[in-house]
Symmetry: C2
Subunit: 343 residues, 2 copies
C-alpha cells in the first residue's frame, strides 16, 4: 500500500512489549490527512529514521524522554516535504527534518523543525551522518571520550551509523581503532572501507581473547553502545583513566528484567574504581552546548567533502516494513544506517 494524498497511515503503540517487539506491539491505522490550522504546516514524510533508542521509548520507564503512550503514534525523526504552510520560513516544497514519527502526514507549528531547503543534496543524511547518529558519535567521542593521538579506541556496532562514525573520527584524531561487528562481511567493511585498524567478530567463540589480542596496549576509550558480553570483555582491558561514553546498551534493550547471573556489578564498579575510569551517559539533546553542534556540522561537512568519512545507508522500502526493520536493527541484522523510504 503506497503513500497517497488522501490517507494518513500511521503506526501507534498498541501495547508495551516485554522483550522483543512483536506483531501486537505496533498497530497500523489509517486516518484522514489532517488539515493545518493557523500557524501550522502539513508535512508529508519522505524518509523515516530507525534508531535503537526507539525500543526504549516503548517502555514505561523513568528515562530522559517520556515514553510513547499507548495509542500514540510511534516516535521517530523523518525527512518530510512541506505540503502546505501558513508559517513564516516554511514554504511548500521545502524539505525539513522533523519529529513526525511513524506516519505519512503530520501537522507542525515549526518547533524543533529544521528547514533543509527546496532541493537538498542527500536529504536522508540529516537522519544519519549529519544528524542525530553522526552528532552522537562526534560529541560522545570527542567531548566525553577525549581521545588522544596514539590511544586505543574500541567501539561496537562498528558498521552501524554511530559506531562507524566514532571509529572514523578516532582515526582522524590519530588513534588506534578497534571495531566490533557481527560477521565476516561487516568486519571486512569496517577494516577495508572504514579504515579501522582491526575489527573483531563478536560471534567468534574466542571473542574476548581476540579483542584482547587486538588491543595490546589496553583500551583508553570504549564507546559503549551495546552492553552485554562486549562490555564484559572490555572491562579487563581498560587502562588507567580510561573514558567510557555511554551512548546505548542495545543488547539489553529487550530485557524484560535483570538477566541471570553471575552479577557483573562488582566487575563494573571495581574496574571504575581501580582504573579510575570515567563512565558517562549522554543524550545529544541536552548533554552538550549548541556550540558543539556547530562544531559538528562544520567538521563533519568538511570530512564528508574531503572523503575522509565514509557513510553507508540501508534503505527499507515502505512504511509497512518499518516494524520488522526495527527488529532487524535491534538484532544487529542491519548493515549501515537504517532509513525507511515512506513516499
Amino acid at each position: 500500500m503506497p503513500q497517497t494524498a488522501e490517507t494518513n497511515r500511521r503506526f501507534v503503540l498498541a501495547e508495551r512489549p516485554r522483550g522483543l517487539p512483536d506483531e501486537r506491539t505496533l498497530r497500523l491505522e489509517q486516518t484522514q490527512v489532517p488539515c493545518p490550522g493557523e500557524g501550522q504546516m502539513l508535512l508529508r514524510t519522505l524518509h523515516l529514521s530507525l534508531d535503537p533508542y526507539m525500543r526504549g521509548r516503548m517502555n514505561d520507564a523513568k528515562s530522559y524522554a517520556k515514553p510513547v503512550e499507548i495509542g500514540e503514534v510511534m516516535t521517530g525523526q523523518v525527512i518530510a516535504e512541506v505540503v502546505s504552510s501558513s508559517l513564516e520560513g516554511f514554504a511548500p516544497g521545502d524539505h525539513v527534518l522533523a519529529g513526525s514519527g511513524w506516519q505519512d502526514y503530520a501537522l507542525s507549528d515549526g518547533t524543533g523543525v529544521l528547514n533543509l531547503g527546496q532541493a537538498p543534496e542527500n536529504p536522508s543524511w540529516s537522519l544519519g551522518i549529519l544528524g542525530m547518529p553522526g552528532y552522537t558519535a562526534y560529541a560522545g567521542l570527542l567531548k566525553i571520550g577525549e581521545p588522544k593521538p596514539g590511544e586505543t579506541v574500541v567501539v561496537a556496532a562498528a558498521s552501524g551509523p554511530v559506531g562507524a562514525t566514532v571509529g572514523q573520527i578516532a582515526r582522524i584524531r590519530g588513534c588506534r581503532v578497534v571495531g566490533i561487528a557481527g560477521g565476516a562481511g561487516k568486519c571486512a567493511h569496517v577494516t577495508d572501507t572504514l579504515g579501522f585498524d582491526a575489527c573483531i567478530d563478536h560471534r567468534a567463540e574466542d571473542f574476548a581473547a581476540r579483542l584482547a589480542a587486538a588491543c595490546p596496549d589496553g583500551i583508553d576509550v570504549y564507546f559503549e553502545n551495546v552492553g552485554g558480553k562486549v562490555l564484559y570483555a572490555v572491562l579487563p582491558l581498560l587502562n588507567p583513566f580510561a573514558r567510557v561514553p555511554v551512548c546505548g546498551v542495545v543488547s539489553w534493550y529487550n530485557l524484560a528484567g535483570l538477566p541471570e547471573g553471575p552479577d557483573h556489578g562488582p566487575a563494573i564498579m571495581g574496574t571504575i574504581l581501580r582504573m579510575k575510569v570515567k563512565m558517562q551517559g549522554f543524550i545529544i539533546f541536552d548533554s552538550f552546548p549548541d556550540s558543539t553542534h556547530d562544531d559538528f556540522i562544520r567538521d563533519m561537512s568538511r570530512w564528508l567533502a574531503e572523503g575522509s568519512i565514509h557513510y553507508r545507508e540501508q534503505i527499507v522500502e515502505g512504511l509497512e516494513a518499518a516494524p520488522a526493520a526495527l527488529n532487524d536493527l535491534l538484532a544487529g541484522r542491519n548493515f549501515g544506517k537504517m532509513v525507511v523510504r515512506v513516499a
Copy 2:
C-alpha cells in the same frame, strides 16, 4: 608484647586471602631494628592507620597500586617519630607521616614523608580528617560530585572517616544529606552529632524503601564507597545528570569471584545511560592537581577550627590487634576512623 627499642615487630603478607583475611593471611615476625645508613633516617611507628584499601592490596590484581608481595611488610600509613636521622629537614623527635607499613620501625630516605614537627596537635588526625580519608572525601565530593546547594547527596559508611566527612562538607555546601550506616547507634551519631538530614540503617528489612522515602527529590550525588545492595537501592533514585564519585566498593572487597545473579550490569549501565549519570573512579594520589590538596588543607583546617566538622577516631591498642581490627573495619564493625596505637 609492647614496642621495644631492640626488636622490630612486623606483619608480612603470608598468603593471599580468598574472601575475608584470616590467621594465615598475615604473619607476625620479629627482626632487629634496622640501622640507618647515609641519607636515611630511622622511624619509630606511633600510630598505624587502618583503611579499606588494604584489603585490595592483598590481591594480586591489576590496580592503581602494585599489590603487596608475599613475604613483604603489609602496607600502611603511619605517624612515626624520627629516632635518628642524617637527612636534612628531619631531626630526632620530629613527628612524620610516612608509609612505613605494619611494623615498629622503618628506614626512610624521606621520599613521600611529611614532617609534622616536634609537637604537633592531634598527630593522628593526619591519618584521617587531615590526611588521606579527609582528602578523599573532599576531592571526590567537590571535584567529581560537584554538589550544588539544594541537591540531595547520599553517602554510605556515613559514620566512617570518609563518609562522615563527605556528608559534613555537603551540608556546609547547602545540600540535603542522607547517610547510610549499620545500626541505630551509628545512625543516631550521623544525624545528631554529624548533622546529616537523615540516616538509614542498611540492616533494615525495607532498606530500599526507607532510602527512597528519605530522598523525595531523588539523588543528585551518590558518593560510592560500598557497592552491593546500597548501590542497587540508589540506582533507581538517581536524577538526570547525577554524579557518582567511585571511591570504594568495600562490601565487595572480600569477593573471591563474581557473586550469584541476577546480573545487575544492565541496571547499572542502563541507569548511566538514561539518567546521563557520570560515574568516575578516583585515587587521591594521582586524580587531582596539587592545588586541590592545598585547598583541602586550608578549608579543612578552617572547618575543624570553627567546629563545623566533627571527627571521631576509634583507637585500637597494640600492633598485634591490627589484623582483627582490619577485619572489623571490612565488616563495618568500626565506629570512626580506625587507628592502631603501636607505641
